[in-house]
């Protein structure tokens, strides 16, 4: 938990946030949208990640899904994250219930 700071080396292509933290955050978002129907669930997650997550956080999550199968993510979080690339044209965020 406690990093000493000075001695560590960092790589520019490391995830911007610790992967465990990103996974926990993504699953928490998934928990919120879980009561919606599958299509709305995925859209709610997509909209949230698109409007609130810094792009490098989204990229790290997608990379984790592509390269490691996203095994520690809820299934509907994977669908929501994948929708980021599928519906990337729709870049406008919105408030309120998932629009699907």
């Amino acid at each position: 938990m406690i990093s000493t700071g000075q001695t560590q080396t960092y790589r520019a292509d490391d995830p911007v946030l610790d992967m465990d933290r990103l996974i926990a955050m993504a699953n928490q978002i998934g928990d919120f949208f879980a009561p919606y129907s599958p299509a709305r669930r995925a859209e709610g997650i997509r909209n949230h990640l698109r409007t609130y997550w810094e792009p490098r956080m989204r990229e790290a999550l997608l990379k984790y899904i592509d390269e490691e199968g996203g095994t520690r993510l809820h299934d509907h979080v994977i669908s929501g994250a994948r929708a980021l690339t599928e519906s990337g044209v729709d870049r406008k965020g919105y408030y309120g219930p998932p629009q699907a």
């Binding site: 490391d14 928990d31 609130y52 965020g93 309120g96």
Partner: protein
Amino acid sequence: MANPVKPDHSVVTTCAYCGVGCSFKAESYQGRIVRMIPWKEGKANHGHSCVKGRFAYDYYNHPDRLRTPLIRKSITDPWQEVSWDEAIHYAASEFRRVQDKYGKKSIGAVSSSRCTNEEIFLVQKFVRAVMGNNNIDNCARICHSPTQFGMSATVGWGAASQHFDSILQADVIMVVGANPTEGHPVFGSLMKRRVRQGAKLIVIDPRRTETVDSAHCKASVHLALRPGTNVAVLNSISHVIVREKLYNEPFIRERCEWDEFESWMALIGSDRYAPEVIGPQAGIDPESIMQVARLYAGGPNSAIYYGLGVTEHSQGSTGVMCLGNLALACGMLGREGVGVNPLRGQGNVQGGSCLGSWPHVFSGYRFVTDSDVRSSFENDWGVSLDDEPGLRLPNMFDAALTGHFRGMYIMGEDPVQSDPNQHHVISAMKNMECVVLQDLFLNETSKYAHVILPGSSSLEKDGTFTSAERRVNRVRKVVEPLAGYQDWQIVVKLMNAMGYAAHYNDAGEILDEIARLSPAYKGMSFSLLERVGSAQWPCDENAPEGTEVLHRVKFPRANGRGTFMLTEYVPTLERTNDRYPLLLTTGRILSQYNVGTQTRRTANSRWHPEDVLDINAEDARARGIDDGDWLKISSRFGSTRLRAKLSTHVNPGIVYTTFHHAKSRANVLTSDLSDWATNCPEYKVTAVEVVKIAPETESETAGFQKTATLEETAA
């Protein structure tokens, strides 16, 4: 010092101590403030005040005040006093050096809700237009960010629906996770007046606060729920409203999205939210949940006031949505005496929220991803802007630990003391190469800073604050800035030094820019405020002197309708077990303000010389603890020590403390869990264990003394 009979100067200004926004006539004599007189024309306080606003102003002139800029190459070097020019130049060149080495997104800023609208707006402009990214956050992140999210989702705007005086029309007042008689005293008095006139008071709070039971205030119902069960209990209240058909169908059909209401009913109506199920989980009598539902739905005017006891949870945003859903379902919006109203802790949290001090939105909660909105700013500022959300404050610290974030401009904040999981924050601070701190005093964060810029207090500057009732009040300079500059002037210097030509003759010109770029502030100007005193946003051609009550005709959503969000209860991961069997929750006290940087440096400290741990007699007895004993409090994240105070205000299983003193180090204990939507920290629930420590073992805790040194100078 004795009050001189005749002050030689006075101005009317706004108190910065909480979100009520009281007006005071500040009187000075030969350049020193001699008294603060509550101003009768103040539309929030009508001549009333509290013990902070009236008396706790001496901090501005305290010997600890920073008067000269300081720099150092490394946090292990001693500070070096330098000129303003040298400090600004050093900060600017370091920020550029860090960006050249680690990329444009490797730096960012956090602004403070103790600063003016103009300063908050300028800091986000500095980040977006000069640093060239959206890594801008505000301390509202760690208190009311879920308000913005949860209220925007349901009613359209993350702001109080009412003006404070509206409470005098309320028949039922529901206070959730707030203690207005201590935290928002002048509003608390107004509430008590209404309760004495016969309004019913519902309090939902783990503690038996002064709001629940004191000389002039008795709650009709108190739900002393277990910390962390807000959403379950609010859902259960809604369950009763659905089960007993207490909702306002005509209002919902006319003003809301009916389909979303039906989905909501299906979820909330489930047996798992029946009071008979939730009551035992939350440690409260099911009958009292039903009583609350019937009282609230019955009104006829029911108003909700809530605080950080709702927001600072892993389901903080969900909790706010529960309140929005509830008010919509019962038709308690759009007129006097009703509404959903966040009580804000600092003078300008509302301003911090609505003026674009967030990584994902411009002023007016408009997304940075929206090209139309973005181009309005690009045209005004003459630069192209980042079209992606930036890092939130906790994510900046996270990214510092992975080496991606290396520099930070901090205006009027002390994240090391006030942010959760202190060890984590300190490690992150140590990883940064350029931390520029602008503040009144050296604080916990200054130990990790490279540049210190002496800031000015709200008594030394011009501008505006937006109070919790959306009221834009003038802040007027009472005395000259001690170190020479108002905070907004320092931001302009930094912008210029980093190559962006910004110039304002006075803070009023910044407000003009805010008005030009933010629809809800369109009509705001110093001249308007000079004429009418204060005005609540939205203020535009339709409401030239502002708006007291929101949502009278429609909600500020695309289709004009309020909507319902599905608010499933997801218990927090922070749980008690054999090792950490107690739940710690936190709050504040009347005479002190937040981390105490200001109030600790005034005579108000005599009322509250130290933070203590409230513990129920039963828990104390089981651990052999007497009143006044020293305790070691440990969580999964760290440990600290406080004195015990045996209290009937908390139920068995729950302990409580305030966080006004740095030496208490309450945030050594708090977890890294946060709200699912906004990353607002879960300050209100930490599993802990408490053991008595003998006074002679104090050497064991020698580490604590070090951090306390700074504070000792402040007596």
